[in-house]
Symmetry: C2
Subunit: 231 residues, 2 copies
């Protein structure tokens, strides 16, 4: 604790009607209901019942709101699950990857905001730290662990980004089976003469958004990491 001083120090002026978290709550619910466009400053302010510019008392600008929101979502992942060193490391990576995917795709509108910014907050760093620990446990040298951690992050966020990019309407993601069926219908329109292989692989491609494909890719990456730990 680098701040031992006054936690209960009352500020001057009138008490705040809101907290930063109230604003983030409103932003997140708007994001979930209406997509990225719905999470406007005016919308947030209306939801918490203040004038639009009152938001600027809590955050300097809208970018700060989304930054804080991203941090909060990243903080929701349970670090203990994959910090448990008694479990095999592959299992722990898998648990982390699944956890991240579940948490992030629960808020599809927020995914675009994450990959739109640098993702360099404390929670992002903490996550990276855990990943480095985990890969060190796997026997990777520090430099390789760092590279591998980035590779995994790219895979996780890239997967989720492409996944949510495929759904057109805002709101919560439909069930997996439903989305796959929709993609299957879309891929059926692929002209087989122009794209023979794509057309033949349509069924597999429709399943790109499935947990199964997600794990398949993850396993291939983990395989690649162990077959050649060196540079």
């Amino acid at each position: 604790m680098p701040v031992p001083a006054p936690p209960t120090e009352r500020r001057r002026g009138p008490r705040r009607a809101l907290t930063e978290d109230d604003i983030l709550d409103a932003a997140l619910s708007l994001l979930d209901e209406g997509g990225a466009d719905a999470a406007s400053v005016r919308g947030i302010a209306a939801r918490v019942g203040v004038a639009p510019n009152a938001v600027y008392t809590y955050f300097p600008d809208k970018a700060a709101v989304v930054k804080a929101l991203v941090e909060r979502l990243l903080g929701e992942v349970d670090h203990d699950v994959f910090a448990d060193r008694s479990r095999p490391w592959r299992e722990r990576v898998e648990a982390l990857a699944l956890d991240l995917r579940q948490h992030l795709s629960a808020h599809p509108g927020a995914v675009g905001l994450m990959i739109g910014g640098p993702m360099d907050g404390p929670q992002a760093l903490a996550l990276n730290e855990r990943l480095l620990e985990l890969l060190a446990d796997a026997g990777l040298a520090p430099a390789d662990a760092a590279r591998a951690s980035y590779l995994l992050i790219v895979y996780v966020f890239g997967s989720i980004a492409l996944e949510v990019a495929d759904v057109h309407e805002p709101g919560p993601l439909p069930a997996e089976a439903q989305r796959i069926a929709g993609r299957q219908a879309a891929f059926a329109a692929t002209p087989p003469d122009a794209y023979p292989r794509s057309s033949a692989a349509a069924t597999t491609m429709a399943g790109y958004i499935s947990t199964e494909q997600y794990l398949w890719g993850l396993h291939r990456i983990l395989d690649g990491l162990v077959t050649r730990g060196g540079a």
Copy 2:
């Protein structure tokens, strides 16, 4: 050619002052100069010298402009380079990955637009088709080739997305060395007591955005694909 009919059929009414390509040119240049926000319908119209709503003669809405622009950029990659079956397949995948990265990061503002939509146009399909061919040449069964193709696409677009997300100002990407130096400076501020591993790996992490790291990750993925081609 499924359209043998009249290519020179003159429409009624006055001749168009522009072409669709003029609009895409303007959109792309604005995107490159001022980032995603600068590519507004009004900005595009001003650049080509018409009223804002004249754009709607050529495209139904802004989303269609973005979609066409994405398709055009995807069409810029030279398919012949990695369609040459005499070269080893790993080399061809590498060439494709590098080509894509170069083309896409030449227009950083466009990257967000790509992963914001479904990426299901003809050029995207053609790219996928080539990748499937390539992976079939590598000896993968069709279903595995499809999965592997998606894995590679996720990696390529995920990498580039995270890469451009790190640069704050719009405009063309700075040189690689310059960006790495900037990241190094940023990572130096990481508190070593809270994040010991991240702090120790700062130098490696600063290089995340390098071509070297990009290829390292790609090679790990390719290793993972060959060590276990089956499900």
